[in-house]
């Protein structure tokens, strides 16, 4: 009876009403996931800087706009701030020998203070669409989706071009085989620096977009960002491989990363609609990402495991001894 009551309280209209907002947010996080894809997949560098640089992007965008700069200039500066954050992580790693994950965490934690300073020592700063000429806002959802999509498409095109160039190829080679890259005269330290800077520049850009979309920047807006980015990358890859299979190329991969962000936010929309407390969302996200990361591993294990080999061996031995018994 209580279950029936629960379903009776679920309003399908509420879900469809929330859908455009989920898609718009998903697009913005999908752009962020493009940045995560560069480090996580191409550079093989699990970069935790992004939690900080995402908030940096939001903080710079909001503060510069409030202080009278045009939104485009503010976004550009947000990008540059993100670039510098990535560069910082890269230098900690390449010049000071700090392992990737630690280097990212160090920059991330430093950015927390820096972001507070950028935001005039406030934990958050408002940016009202009524006062400023913003390019994306949750008040106009259709417009927001179109703008988000344009940003995503332009970025995908740029990244597709860049990673096809000599320099982009060198970055890909560095991520896959550093020893070979050095033997082919590639300065792998420089390639890591460029990749990290580029990645965090994109992440900061999406932070700037999200701050406009939600009408404020918050020092905690990037917390857990790496997990959401990873979720988008992994959901996108699983889905892309399922749909495109062998035809999955680099363009397809990047597109599906953004789609992964959208799907993630639609799923979030669904669980919120099912009345999961929003406080539990991060737990839910962590579980999703853990499951998706674990699936390929478990799949491989199910094909070949000691347990199964043991069973097969026991069966073969017992049937052999049965024959001998005859």
């Amino acid at each position: 009876m209580s279950l029936l009551n629960y379903f009776a309280t679920l309003n399908p209209v509420a879900f469809t009403n929330a859908l455009p907002g989920n898609i718009a947010q998903g697009l913005i996080w999908g752009i962020m996931a493009l940045g995560v894809y560069i480090t996580f997949r191409l550079l093989d560098f699990a970069d935790l800087t992004v939690d900080g640089s995402f908030a940096t992007g939001g903080a710079v965008t909001v503060m510069m706009t409030i202080n009278g700069h045009s939104i485009w200039v503010s976004l550009l500066c947000a990008c540059i701030a993100g670039l510098l954050a990535g560069l910082c992580t890269g230098l900690l790693h390449t010049k000071l020998g700090i392992p990737p994950i630690l280097a990212g965490i160090l920059t991330q934690i430093a950015l927390y203070s820096i972001n507070l300073n950028i935001m005039d020592r406030h934990a958050n700063q408002a940016l009202s669409i009524d006062k400023y000429n913003l390019i994306i806002s949750s008040r106009q959802l259709t417009h927001a989706i179109i703008v988000g999509a344009i940003f995503a498409i332009v970025l995908i095109a740029l990244l597709y071009w860049y990673f096809g160039t000599e320099q982009g190829s060198a970055i890909r080679a560095t991520g896959c085989n550093p020893a070979m890259s050095k033997a082919q005269g590639i300065n792998i330290d420089t390639m890591k620096l460029i990749g990290l800077a580029l990645s965090n520049g994109i992440v900061a850009l999406s932070g700037g977009l999200l701050a406009q979309y939600s009408g404020f920047s918050d020092v905690n807006m990037g917390r857990g960002g790496i997990v959401i980015g990873l979720a988008a990358v992994i959901i996108g890859e699983v889905l892309g491989d399922a749909i495109l299979g062998k035809h999955m190329d680099f363009k397809g991969r990047l597109t599906f990363v953004v789609l992964g962000g959208i799907i993630y936010y639609i799923v979030i929309g669904i669980v919120l609609w099912l009345k999961m407390p929003s406080d539990d969302l991060k737990l839910f996200t962590a579980i999703i990402v853990a499951v998706f990361l674990a699936v390929p591993y478990l799949k491989g294990k199910s094909k070949s495991s000691f347990k199964k080999a043991g069973k097969r061996s026991a069966a073969a031995l017992s049937s052999a001894s049965a024959k001998e018994g005859k």
Partner: protein, 264 residues
Amino acid sequence: MLEIRNVHKTFNLGTINEKHALNGVDLTLDEGDFVTVIGGNGAGKSTMLNAIAGSWPVDEGSILIDGVDVTGLPEFKRATFLGRVFQDPMTGTTATMQIDENLALAARRGQRRGLGWGISKKEKTQFHELLKTLDLGLEDRMTSKVGLLSGGQRQAVTLLMASLKKPKVLLLDEHTAALDPKTAAKVLALTDKIIEENHLTAMMVTHNMRDAIAHGNRLIMMNNGRVILNISGEEKKRLTVEDLLVKFEEVSGEEFDSDKALLG
């Protein structure tokens, strides 16, 4: 073409694992020399190659390539002068990139990598012709990921990559040791062909004494981080495995310790 003067290298200095890997290596290669390098385990063969390639800075001594002192240059800068093939077939190529993309990376060795397209149309036809010469059917699989190739195929591609931009010195570090005997023989034949056709100066480390005798115009033997034997010309041509073993005992005062070198 290559000059190694009194090069020393000690690993883990001041610890119980201290190892004097190179103890004053002296060696000169003239243009067109193809030197095979043999020696027991820990003799310093691979260490010498890594010293030339710049995997780490040497403690003492000088390394000159074509008259240029490269001792102070890091690995990626020395790559301008060097072609390299490694023991592990996985090391020389990038698995997640296509065959033609790998070759294109090698075609830009020693050049600034800018924002031009990573591989040109002209290169694609050039690579197609080059891959044909391998006779492995790879010319029809140019857009396949290298990770799909076998170890022997990957070593063949690596050899092409190492010689694509004519290196001053080609360094081969036991590049057939991880292959089955038949494939190893093929890759060795290909090595000879590439060195001859491009008139390369080359250095090949091997565990196999017969290979060391059969290939190249010079042979050196290393022991305890030194070059203890240097054979060339007619003497090299007449050399047998037995001669080598006797010479080794004469020069080092020890018995040759590697069964693999005898049996291989």
